[in-house]
Amino acid sequence: MAIDKVWVLAEAGDTPAPITLELLTEARQVASTVEAVSWGTGTATQAPTLGEYGATKVYDVGDLGGALPGAPVAGAIAALVQAGEGPDALLVPATYDGRDVAGRLSARLDRPVLTNVVGLTAEGGLATQHAVFGGTHIVTARFVGEGPGIYVVRAKSFAAEPAGGPAPEVVTAGVPDLGATGEARITARHEEERSGPKLDEAAVVVSGGRGLGSAENYALIEELAKLLHGAAGASRAIVDAGWVPYSHQVGQTGKTVKPTVYLACGISGATQHLVGMKGAKNIVAVNKDQDAPIFSVADLGIVGDVHKVLPALIEALKARG
C-alpha cells in the first residue's frame, strides 16, 4: 500500500543535485503524488528536470537574501504543513543544508526525524532501512504517531531514473517571521578548486588512512586519484588528526561512495569506514596488517607497505601514459 503524498527537498541550484533525482525516483515508488520544495534563484530553471523525475508541483521558497537555508526553508515548509497543504512524508537529502532543514523542521513541527535512511518500503505506511555496525546489519524502523514523517536519506541509496513527466507547476512558498533563528548570513562563498570529479560521483575513489604515516604522504593518494581520473577520499582517523579536511571523509560520519573501483590505502577498515564504501563495485586494499578488517570486503587485497606499493603503482600508471 503506497502512501498518498511525498515531498522531496531539492537542493538549491540551476540543475538538480544527483541526490535530488535519486529521492524523486524513490518517492515515485512509495507515493501516488510527488512534489518538491526548493529555494534559491535556480528553482524555475531546475523545475523541468524535477518534473521529468516525477515532481508534479514545485514549491519555491525563493532567494533567501544570503540567509543560511536551514531556518527559512524549514519555516516555509512548516507554514505549508500548518496550512494543511503538507505531505505524508518529506524526504530530505543528507547534505549540509538538508540536515539543517530537517532538524529545524522537526523541532518546529514537533515531529521526530529518521536519519541515515538507506532504504524505504511502503507497506502499511513507510518503513525505513538503516545500515548499522559497518553495514553488517540492517535495522528497519518507522514512525508512530502523527505525520508528516521527516526522513533524511543518504546519497546513493537509490538509482535515479527519469519518468518523462511534464514541467511542473512552480508555486511560491512564503517564509514566516523567523525571529533570531534566521539571523545567520552568508557573507562570502568560496569554491575549492577541484581538478577531478566529486568524491561521491567519481568512478574511481582512492582513499588514505592512518597507515600513510603522515599528512605529507596524502600527496600519494592525490596523485593516484589524479592518474586514475578519480577522487581522493580519507578515513575518519586522518580527518580527526587534521591531515585532510572533513569534505574528504568516507564513512558513516562522512560521504557514502559507490564507485566502480575503491582503492583503500593504509585503511584498517573500521565499521565507521566500511559503511561508507562497501557498496563499491570493486574494492582493492593495501595494508600491512593481514588481519585488517578491510581485507574481508576486498576483491583484491595486498598485504604490504603503502610506502612501497603506492609509489610503484604511480610509476606503473605513469609509464602507461
Binding site: 536551514g70 531556518a71 543528507a94 549540509y96 540536515r99 530537517a102 532538524g103 529545524r104 522537526s106 514537533d110 521526530p112 526525524v113 529518521l114 536519519t115 541515515n116 518503513a127 545500515a131 555496525f133 553495514g135 553488517t136 546489519h137 540492517i138 535495522v139 518507522r142 508512530v144 533570531a180 533563528t181 534566521g182 539571523e183 545567520a184 548570513r185 552568508i186 557573507t187 562563498r189 574511481v204 580527518v239 587534521g242 591531515w243 585532510v244 572533513y246 565507521q272 562497501k278 570493486n282 582493492v284 593495501v286 593481514q290 570486503v297 576483491d299 583484491l300 587485497g301 598485504v303 604490504g304 612501497k308 606499493v309 603506492l310 610503484a312 603503482l313 606503473a316 600508471l317 602507461r320
Partner: protein
C-alpha cells in the same frame, strides 16, 4: 564581553569495543562504561580556545547519560571546562533525538549561554540533527559544519563547509555552532587538570528538575520504533596476497580487468 560557552558532550560506549543491540529494545547497548565521544573533544577544545580569547568567559558542559555517568565529563573538565550539568534519569532511556534535544535545550537554558557548541554528530548514534533541533527549541540561529570559528563575544564568524568549498557566515550571539572533527587539536588533560577536575562542580538533574513531563521523553515519548534487525547480505572476500614486490603490478592487472585503465 565575557561569554558563557556551553558545550554539548555525549558519553558513549567505547567505539573500539564491539557494539551490540539490546535484543529486547533493539537499541544500542549502552550498559557498559561510557567515555567522552571523540567527536566532542573538538568542541570542548574550540570552546576553551574561544573562551580563552574573551576575558572572564567560562565553559560549561551539558550532557545526558544513564546512571549518573560522569567519566566522560571528567575528561572534558580535566581539559579545562569549569563545570558540568548532567541530566540523568531512568525515564530518559529510549529517547529519540527530538526528545533528547528537548532535555538538552532545557538544561542549556539554565546555563544562560552566549554560545553553544556541539559536534556535527555523535559517533554512536550519528543522527546529526540534534544541535539544530536544540537551536530551534532555544530560538537561536545556528551555523553547522564549522571549519573555523571566531568571536568577539557579540558576533560569530564561521567558515562553514559546503559541497563546493566553504562559506563565510556571520551571526549575532547567542547562537549554536557545530564543529567538524579535526578543526582544532584537542589538548591532552594535564596531571594538574585531572586532579582539578575531581573537585569541579557537576550538577545532576532529573527530568522533573527541568520542568519536563516524563511522558514526553524516553520510551514513553518516543515516536519512532525499530521493527526489525536483520543481517545484511555479506560481501564475499576476494584474493588476499602478500606483496613480494609485485603488489603494484597486481593492482594494475586488476584495474585492467575491470576496465578502469
Amino acid at each position: 564581553m565575557a561569554m558563557n560557552v556551553v558545550v554539548c558532550v555525549k558519553q558513549i560506549p567505547d567505539p573500539a569495543a564491539p557494539s551490540s543491540l539490546d535484543p529486547g529494545t533493539k537499541t544500542l547497548n549502552r550498559s557498559g562504561k561510557l567515555i567522552l565521544d571523540d567527536s566532542d573533544s573538538y568542541g570542548v577544545e574550540m570552546a576553551l580556545q574561544l573562551a580563552g580569547n574573551v576575558e572572564g568567559s567560562e565553559v560549561t558542559l551539558v550532557s545526558m547519560a544513564p546512571g549518573g555517568e560522569v567519566s566522560g565529563l571528567r575528561t572534558a573538565l580535566a581539559m579545562g571546562a569549569a563545570r558540568a550539568i548532567l541530566v540523568s534519569d531512568d525515564s530518559l532511556a529510549g529517547s529519540d533525538a527530538l526528545s533528547t534535544a528537548k532535555v538538552l535545550a532545557a538544561a542549556i537554558r539554565r546555563a544562560e549561554p552566549d554560545l553553544v557548541i556541539a559536534a556535527t554528530e555523535s559517533t554512536d548514534g550519528y543522527t546529526g540533527t540534534l544541535p539544530v533541533q536544540v537551536a530551534e527549541l532555544l530560538g537561536l540561529p545556528s551555523v553547522t559544519f564549522a571549519k573555523s570559528v571566531a568571536t568577539d563575544g557579540r558576533n560569530l564568524k564561521v567558515e562553514r563547509q559546503t559541497e563546493a568549498g566553504y562559506d563565510e557566515v556571520e551571526c549575532p550571539l547567542p547562537a549554536v555552532v557545530t564543529v567538524t572533527a579535526g578543526v582544532v587539536e584537542p589538548r591532552y588533560p594535564s596531571f594538574k587538570g585531572i586532579m582539578a577536575a575531581k573537585s569541579k562542580p557537576v550538577e545532576t538533574l532529573t527530568v522533573s528538575d527541568l520542568g519536563l513531563d516524563a511522558s514526553q521523553v524516553g520510551w514513553a515519548g518516543a515516536r519512532q520504533e525499530i521493527t526489525d534487525v536483520s543481517e545484511a547480505e555479506a560481501r564475499s572476500a576476494g584474493e588476499v596476497v602478500v606483496d613480494e614486490g609485485d603488489g603494484a603490478e597486481r593492482i594494475v592487472a586488476f584495474l585492467e580487468q575491470v576496465k578502469v585503465v
